[in-house]
Structures are given as C-alpha cells and as structure tokens.
C-alpha cells in the first residue's frame, strides 16, 4: 500500500473526519408527493417531462427519492439495484423488501409473501 493510502486509512486520521461530517441533504426524510423531471434534446428541441407520484400503501405515504428514466422505467433509491416497468411493481417489491415497514394484514397476507419477479 502506498504511504498516502496508509495515512488516510489509520483510525486516528479518519475518525475525526467522520465525526465532523454532515449528512448530505439527500439523507433527510422527504415529505409529500415525489416529483421527477426527465429532460432530453431532440432535433434541437428541449423536452421536459415533469411527473408527480403520490404513492400510498394502506393509506400511508411512500416518500423516498424516485426517478423516472427517459426510457420510462422507474428507479427508487431505497431499492437501488432494481428499476421497474411501473410504479405498482416498485411498491410490490418494497412490501417484500421491508417487512418491518409493512406488517402483514389481519388475515396474514402481505409482508413476507410472494416474490417480486
């Protein structure tokens, strides 16, 4: 390992930096509908598509950061390794992925059931 890497990977060097760190703005909870903007340039024309998602599960809002790509697929940061053909598919995957956030209903459905594929 080169000397510069050795220096920065010592706890005495990095712990004060971690302590002084400020959480990025994107880590703060988001409230209200989620807005995503798609932009493209075609034949010299500037295209801008603004989409607003207001998603609820059992009446409770889902409010993480969401982006729609120009091919129409939806990407939701809390499940960062997936993108979805529709927002409904996305929410089904969320219910599977976060059992602590989506308790099974009184009949025992949901929460731990099914695959997202």
């Amino acid at each position: 390992m080169d000397d510069e890497l050795r220096e920065i990977t010592e706890p005495s060097a990095y712990l004060p930096r971690v302590q002084a760190g400020e959480p990025p703005a994107g880590t703060h909870p988001h409230h209200g509908p989620i807005e995503t903007v798609r932009e493209a340039v075609y034949e010299g024309h500037r295209i801008r598509v603004r989409t607003v998602y207001a998603i609820e599960v059992d009446g409770r809002p889902v409010s993480g950061h969401l982006a729609a790509a120009n091919d129409g697929r939806v990407h939701y940061h809390p499940v960062p390794n997936l993108s979805f053909a529709s927002a409904v598919d996305l929410v089904k995957a969320l219910i599977d992925a976060f059992p602590d956030d989506f308790e099974p209903d009184v009949d025992g459905h949901g929460g731990h059931g099914g695959s997202h594929h």
């Binding site: 050795r6 706890p11 982006a67 809390p78 976060f98």
Partner: protein, 325 residues
C-alpha cells in the same frame, strides 16, 4: 508488498481471515455516535464496520448533479467502479489492521461459477455453509440468518439500516437474507458480453447507455435486468437490497469480484481506460477522471482520491487470477 485477493471458495485462510476480520470490525466501537451523524433512532456507538454502511448510504444520497434524481456519487454513473474500489481498499486496510496482517487480501466470490448451476442448486454452493457466510434467512423467523458466523445467535447485529423511504435509522436485529431462487445468479455469458464491450462508459453517463460500466453494474439490457452486480444484490436479498447493503458481509465479496472483472477489462483495454475526462460538464462533478470521490473518511478539501488514482492500484493489491472463463 501488495496484498493478493483470492477466491473465497479456494483459499481457507482468506475465508477465515475475512470472517475473523469482519467480526472484529463489528466489535470495534469508534466513539462516533449515530445521533451526531443525524441518524434517527436510539443513539448507538457505531462500530468501524457500521461506518462503511453509512458511507455507502450517504454516497447514494448525493445526487450528481443535485438537480436530478438518478445518478448519484457512487452508482448509475461512471464513478461506480472507482468509487467501490476506493471503498474496498479502505475496508481491506481496516481488516489488515485488526488481523495484524498487512498482507491480508479481501477475498472475492466468483458468482458466475455458481450462476452456471441449475437454479435449485445455487443456494447449495459452499459459500452458504456454516463455516463460510451462513445460509439463507429463515422465513419463519423474519428471514433472519440462523447459521454461520453472522447468525442471529452470534454477536453480529445490524445497527443501522435504510427503511422503505430510504432513511437511515438505528436498529438492533440480526442479519436478513431472502434468496430469490427464481432469479438465478449471473451466468458467465453475461460477463463475456460485458468484457467484450471496449467502451468504458458513454454520454449521457446514466444507467441507459450500453457500455462496459452499465453492463457490469447491471442496468442493461434494461428489459431483462437486473444483471451481474445488481443481480447478485437482488438474488441474496434481505439486507443486500437497501442502500445499507454493506451490512451483509457478502456485499464485499460481490464487489471484490466486480472489481476483479474491472481489473481484467483494464488489462485488455485498448481505448480510454476511464471516461469522462475532465473537459466534461460540471454537471458530472464526482464522475470525471480527476474529480474527488465522495467519502466520509477524507476531508472535503482532500482532492487526491480520484477515479484516475484508482486506475493503477498494483502497489496496493492484485488478484490471484484475472481469468474470467
């Protein structure tokens, strides 16, 4: 001397060193309190291992540029490979320190070997045995891992995790896995397709273009994703799914293999070894070749840790084999 990174299924010493090192980093209190980092939930003295979870989550929360919600400071853009290389180097240095072995190399999981097995046999790989990573989560117990060194009965606890809204919170619970048996691990043919793409990345530097980086990260072809790196996250499931995925020690085995594939690609590269160069738009800050990469471990004005710096790491580590067959 440079560390040598070995296949975890072929090197018993690397496997045991990794397990011992992870448990030691998990037990090492740092004095960094979760509430001092703005993490909601009961305050916790974070372990060294947990700091890497925070780093990954924060990097994913930095949009590049802030005006869009797609590309972030570590994913869905060109910096994906060098940023994770930097993260692995940092973790490897911590493992070397707690193991008292400056030559210890992070092991990799050659997941495409298991991807060649029939779907029902993939969870039977030696990776998931009691003396390696432990197995799938138990659906009767909330998908908690119940065997191996990181089982619910062990000292290994998840301390910070991202919720369904992407907010990092403190928790105290066992590790979760939920294998997606229908999905299957990546086959070798997908790796060959990625390695055959000579273009590192291309405009508009998002998850859409067909480039080596997007093939390996796993975004293309879009209709049949997830692929390669992404597919491994999704196949393991549980704590490998959220932005807090470094909670599962398998995260590093996956990324070490991704890094090995990048090393193989770099060795054969005939065109630019990284794109975009520094003449690209400021909207690509954090992704251009001489931009400082996002880190909680280095000071904001430390501009030495760039994608360019990650292109030759031969003084730090190498792999036992770059043969991707």
């Amino acid at each position: 001397m440079a560390a040598v990174r070995a296949n975890i299924l072929a090197d018993a010493a690397a496997r045991q060193g990794y397990i011992d090192g992870v448990l030691a980093l998990k037990a090492e209190a740092t004095g960094v309190m979760s509430n001092s980092l703005g993490i909601p939930g009961p305050p916790r003295d974070l372990a060294t291992y947990d700091l890497f979870v925070v780093w990954h989550h924060w990097a994913m929360s930095v949009m590049t540029p802030p005006s869009q919600g797609d590309r972030n400071a570590a994913h869905r853009g060109p910096v994906f490979l060098p940023w994770h290389r930097f993260m692995l180097i940092f973790l490897e240095a911590q493992l070397q320190r707690v193991l008292g072995n400056p030559d210890f190399g992070l092991p990799y999981w050659s997941w495409s070997d298991d991807g060649e097995l029939p779907l029902p046999e993939q969870p039977e790989s030696p990776l998931w045995t009691e003396d390696c990573m432990g197995g799938d989560g138990d659906p009767a117990r909330g998908f908690f891992v119940t065997d191996g060194p990181f089982a619910d009965s062990s000292a290994f606890q998840v301390n910070v995790t991202a919720d369904s809204n992407g907010v990092l919170r403190t928790v105290s619970r066992p590790l979760r896995r939920r294998f997606d048996l229908l999905l299957g691990l990546p086959p070798k043919t997908e790796l060959q397709v990625a390695l055959a793409d000579g273009e590192y990345d291309e405009d508009p530097w998002t998850a859409e273009p067909v480039s080596f980086r997007n093939l390996l990260e796993g975004w293309v072809p879009a209709e049949t994703q997830p692929h390669l790196h992404n597919r491994v996250h999704v196949w393991v499931g549980g704590d490998m799914l959220p932005a807090s995925s470094p909670n599962d020690p398998v995260f590093y085995l996956n990324h070490c293999n991704v890094d090995r594939v990048w090393s193989a690609w770099l060795e054969d590269a005939t065109g630019p070894r990284y794109l975009p160069d520094q003449s690209a738009s400021d909207d690509l800050f954090r992704h251009r070749i001489d931009d400082p990469m996002f880190s909680i471990f280095t000071s904001a004005d430390d501009d030495r840790w760039t994608p360019r710096r990650m292109l030759d790491v031969s003084a730090t580590y190498g792999y036992d084999s770059l043969a991707i067959t």
